[in-house]
C-alpha cells in the first residue's frame, strides 16, 4: 500500500469535499492501493505528472514508486483541469 502525502491545507479541502463527493475518497483509496493502475499522464510534468478523474473532480498527484508514496497535490474541478491541460489556463509551476 502506498502512503498518501498531503499538505494540511489540501487535507482540509479534501475533508470538506469528501462529505459531498464520496467519489474523491473512493479514488484516493484506489490510489493508495495501486496508483499506476488509474493514473493518466498530464503531459505537463512541471505542473503535476498524473491525474485521475473522480466524479466531477480530478485528483492531481505525483508518485515515488520506490518509496511507495503518492503525493496528492491538487483537487480540481475537471473543467478547470481541462483548461489547464489544453493551455487555456496557466498552470502553477513549482
Amino acid at each position: 500500500m502506498y502512503k498518501l502525502f498531503v499538505n494540511p491545507d489540501l487535507f482540509e479541502h479534501i475533508k470538506k469535499l469528501g462529505e459531498d463527493f464520496p467519489s474523491i475518497i473512493n479514488k484516493i483509496k484506489i490510489l493508495s492501493e495501486n496508483p499506476n493502475s488509474i493514473a493518466s499522464n498530464t503531459e505537463m510534468e512541471v505542473f503535476c505528472k498524473y491525474y485521475v478523474n473522480a466524479g466531477r473532480h480530478a485528483i492531481l498527484f505525483d508518485t515515488n514508486d520506490s518509496e511507495e508514496i503518492v503525493y496528492i497535490k491538487y483537487i480540481l474541478l475537471r473543467a478547470r483541469l481541462y483548461k489547464i491541460l489544453s493551455g487555456k489556463l496557466k498552470a502553477p509551476t513549482s
Binding site: 502525502f5 498531503v6 469528501g18 483509496k29 493508495s32 503525493y71 483537487i75 473543467a79 483548461k83
Partner: protein
C-alpha cells in the same frame, strides 16, 4: 433586523468565495485581507441588490477577463433554487458555461453568485460555486513547499482523519 451593511475592517485572511454564515448575517471574504460583515434580510432581493453594490465596491479587481453575466436573471433563479432541483440544475449549467466559456471569469461576478446562493440557502449551489472560486486561487497560488508542510499518511490514518465513517 438591521438592513444596513456594515463594513468593519479586519485583518482576517481567507479566500475569495469563502463565506461564513452567522445568525442574521454573512461574512464575505472580498479580498485576501479584508472581511466584510453584512447584515441582511434574507428574503429581500432589493436589500441583496444593495449589498451586492456594496460588495462590488469592496471586491478587488483582478487581472482577469470580463464576463457578461445577467445577474438579475440569476438572482431570480437563485430565488427559486432553494427547493427546486430543476432550478438548481439550470443554475449549474449557467455557471458551468460561465466558467468554461472564457479563460477566466470576472471574480466579482463569481463572488456575487456565491453570495446569492448563500442568500437563498441553496446548499448545492453554494458548494459548487465556492469550489470553483476557491480553486481558482488554489491553482494560481505559488506552489507550497509540500515536503516541509505536508505529511505522509497510511490509508487507514488518512481515512480516519478525513472521516471516521469512511475508514
Amino acid at each position: 433586523m438591521s438592513h444596513t451593511a456594515e463594513l468593519p475592517q479586519s485583518n482576517h485572511l481567507g479566500f475569495i468565495g469563502d463565506y461564513f454564515l452567522f445568525p442574521n448575517g454573512y461574512k464575505a471574504v472580498s479580498n485576501y485581507k479584508k472581511v466584510i460583515e453584512i447584515t441582511t434580510d434574507e428574503n429581500s432581493l432589493k436589500e441583496s441588490k444593495k449589498i451586492i453594490t456594496l460588495l462590488k465596491k469592496e471586491v478587488q479587481d483582478l487581472p482577469i477577463k470580463k464576463e457578461n453575466l445577467n445577474l438579475a436573471e440569476l438572482a431570480k433563479q437563485a430565488e427559486c433554487a432553494k427547493n427546486n432541483q430543476h432550478q438548481i440544475n439550470k443554475m449549474f449549467s449557467i455557471i458551468e458555461n460561465l466558467f468554461m466559456s472564457e479563460d477566466e471569469v470576472k471574480i466579482d461576478d463569481a463572488v456575487m453568485l456565491n453570495f446569492l446562493a448563500h442568500m437563498k440557502e441553496a446548499k448545492e449551489l453554494i458548494d459548487y460555486i465556492s469550489d470553483y472560486i476557491t480553486l481558482v486561487f488554489d491553482v494560481n497560488k505559488a506552489e507550497t513547499d509540500l515536503e516541509s508542510k505536508g505529511k505522509a499518511y497510511s490509508l487507514d490514518e488518512f481515512l480516519e482523519q478525513i472521516s471516521p465513517k469512511a475508514a
